[in-house]
């Protein structure tokens, strides 16, 4: 197993108290698997993704265990995580467009970074050139300043740099959210190619866009209000979702070829609960059409079929 996460809890400190942004996540990602991580804004997916590599200022590790390739990742220890960063686990951040220092040439940034991690730039230069070529970037990019590159070019540059050391786990955090549709496709294909060529072993792709996940992910993990809702192979999620939330999500997606006059888009009424003071039991029950008495008890995330996990009393029983 490449990645094994067990009961991970990470909270956010706010002035009004701790927001329980990630409240008990348990799942596995196999070698070579691309897992999509989806859910609406604020569901905890970015918290989960970030905590696997670096907790930022406001995040507070509460409990849980993360294993990568059989070794435990000390995610609560900023210093202790350093040897793993970039080499074993890497990230293409949400802010890739501004992730490059504006006053340094791209090549210089890469060189400074690599050498600070003990990698000789000269030794890896050839591979860097090859990968730039692979994503369609000219070598001249290394001699340019970030402001001379277009948004798409910056995105691809960051992707190349982040994966340069062939990490076991790559976290792609909302990498397509800011792009137009054709660029989204290009980036999605790039991710696939990186995995197929073995540049990265497993990948967690965080996004709210299910359509992209359907194209490239092997499995999809749906989150809601800090908890895991459902995990299943991609086409199972899309064609036969089990969790009521997933069903409503899929149902609210427009279908190609269907007109508005024939079939109105329905959303999901209401909004997600507060994470500072979440309700007991299933967090979706206030909006769930299938809610019943048992739902005041929190449903466990169980495997109902081989390879399919759901946290829902209506399904599991």
């Amino acid at each position: 197993m490449a990645v094994a996460v067990e009961n991970l809890r990470v909270h956010y400190r706010t002035l009004k108290g701790d927001a329980k942004a990630l409240d008990g996540a348990t799942f596995r990602v196999a070698d070579g698997e691309i897992m999509g991580l989806a859910g609406e804004s604020g569901c905890g997916k970015t918290t989960l993704a970030k905590s696997l590599i670096r907790l930022d200022g406001r995040m507070r590790y509460v409990e849980g265990r993360v294993e990568l390739d059989g070794r435990e990742l000390p995610i609560w220890d900023d210093r202790g995580m350093n040897p793993f960063r970039f080499k074993q686990v890497s990230i293409v951040p949400q802010y890739a467009m501004s992730a490059l220092n504006p006053t340094r040439k791209v090549g210089r940034i890469a060189q400074d970074l690599l050498e600070s991690r003990g990698i000789s730039f000269g030794a890896i230069r050839a591979e860097l050139d090859r990968r730039l070529d692979l994503v369609g970037l000219p070598q001249e990019v290394l001699g340019m300043y970030p402001l001379e590159l277009s948004g798409g070019m910056k995105q691809r540059t960051v992707m190349v740099i982040s994966t340069l050391l062939d990490p076991s786990l790559l976290i792609a955090d909302e990498v397509t959210s800011a792009l137009d549709v054709s660029s989204q496709r290009a980036v999605a294909e790039m991710l696939l190619e990186f995995r197929d060529r073995g540049f990265v072993k497993s990948m967690i792709v965080v996004t709210h866009d299910l359509a992209i996940l359907y194209q490239i992910a092997d499995t999809i993990l749906i989150m809601y209000a800090g908890k895991l809702a459902e995990k299943a192979p991609a086409d199972a999620i899309v064609s036969s979702p089990l969790h009521p939330y997933t069903k409503l999500l899929i149902g609210s997606l427009p279908e190609v070829g269907v007109r508005f006059s024939e079939h109105r888009l329905t959303g999901i009424s209401g909004g997600p609960p507060s994470l500072i003071d979440p309700p007991s039991g299933c967090r979706f029950r206030d909006r769930c059409p299938l809610a019943f008495a048992k739902c005041v008890e929190e449903p466990p995330f169980v495997e109902v079929e081989p390879g399919r996990h759901v946290a829902c009393w209506a399904v599991a029983s």
Binding site: I53, R54, N82, P93, Y95, A99, R104, S116
Partner: protein, 328 residues
């Protein structure tokens, strides 16, 4: 690169023309007749006063049409003649200013440079260490809120008069003449120290605060987060942050020049230091308009040159200006 430089040059040329025009125009726009004020000071009797009035009007060219006066002003400027002084009868404004400027520069240049460098270092350190931050920051705020002349007064009073450790008047001992001797050098240094310190401390506060805030901002920037996420050591991130924070600080330097010049002026007044500030004080007290106008021009030219130099340095430091996108 040339676009940035061209813009700046254009700006300074326009500023120069505007400043000189303002300098020329103000006396002519102000109510009252400066000549009469002049004559009143000379306390001449009424008949002689009228003759003097005519004489002065003609020699200052005030009977010429305005546009003619304007051109004459520029011509005089080009020839480097700023006229005679009224307060120091017999001396030319040029001579007085040229004698005073070195003293002002002796205070200004070290004070600006040292406070900028020290302020930047301390500010950057304070941004990293909470303990240092908590002690340095309030002090810096107090310093920067302190009026220059008041700190000068306090220093002069406490160190100079109460403790009697350092002298508080003049640039050197009265009994000495400027010469390349150790004695003079020592005297000069002791007289120079307090006014310099006063200027340094107040400016230091501002730079420290500025740098601290800029570094904090840079350390939270996306590129810093990315590097840290990829495991880069703090040293690398700090280096990048410092390099980036220096840029707006440099722009601030050019802009703060005008203010620190004002500080030097009032500090000189407190310490009786024979620089441009003391000269201006005398000029104001004696209504020596020529001296005032000359001093104004000197200050303007000095500030413009200094601005230009800083802009050139900025071009070296910010690579983006060379790629054509820099717009300070």
């Amino acid at each position: 690169m040339s676009l940035y430089l061209a813009r700046k040059t254009f700006l300074y040329l326009v500023t120069f023309v505007v400043a000189v025009s303002v300098d020329w125009a103000i006396p002519r726009l102000m109510p009252g007749d400066p000549i009469n004020g002049l004559i009143a000071r000379l306390q001449a009797d009424p008949t002689a006063a009228e003759q003097l009035h005519g004489y002065f009007t003609e020699s200052f060219g005030l009977d010429q049409p305005l546009w003619r006066q304007y051109l004459d002003f520029w011509r005089g400027l080009a020839q480097g003649d700023l006229g005679p002084s009224i307060a120091y009868v017999g001396s030319s404004v040029n001579d007085l200013l040229l004698n005073a400027v070195p003293y002002t520069l002796a205070l200004l240049v070290p004070a600006i440079l040292l406070s900028y460098i020290a302020g930047n270092r301390v500010g950057a350190l304070a941004a990293r260490r909470k303990a240092l931050d908590n002690s340095v920051l309030p002090l810096a705020y107090v310093l920067t809120a302190t009026p220059y002349m008041w700190l000068a007064l306090v220093l002069a009073y406490v160190v100079g008069f109460r403790w009697g450790v350092l002298p508080v008047s003049g640039a050197y001992d009265f009994s000495l003449q400027p010469a390349w001797t150790w004695e003079f050098a020592r005297s000069f240094a002791t007289h120079w120290f307090l006014p310099f310190l006063s200027l340094f401390l107040v400016s230091f506060g501002g730079w420290a605060i500025g740098m601290r805030n800029l570094i904090i901002y840079e350390l939270e920037a996306d590129y810093a987060n990315y590097l840290q996420a990829l495991g880069a050591p703090n040293g690398l991130v700090r280096r990048y942050a410092y390099r980036n924070a220096v840029l707006p600080q440099m722009s601030g330097l050019a802009l703060a020049l005008g203010a620190v010049v004002g500080g030097a002026l009032v500090t000189e007044v407190v310490f009786g230091y024979p620089g441009v500030g003391s000269l201006i004080l005398t000029a104001v007290q004696n209504r020596d308009y020529f001296l005032l106008q000359g001093a104004f021009l000197f200050i303007i030219i000095g500030v413009l040159i200094a601005n230009f130099v800083v802009d050139l340095l900025y071009m070296v430091v910010d690579p983006r200006t060379r790629v054509g996108a820099g717009r300070a």
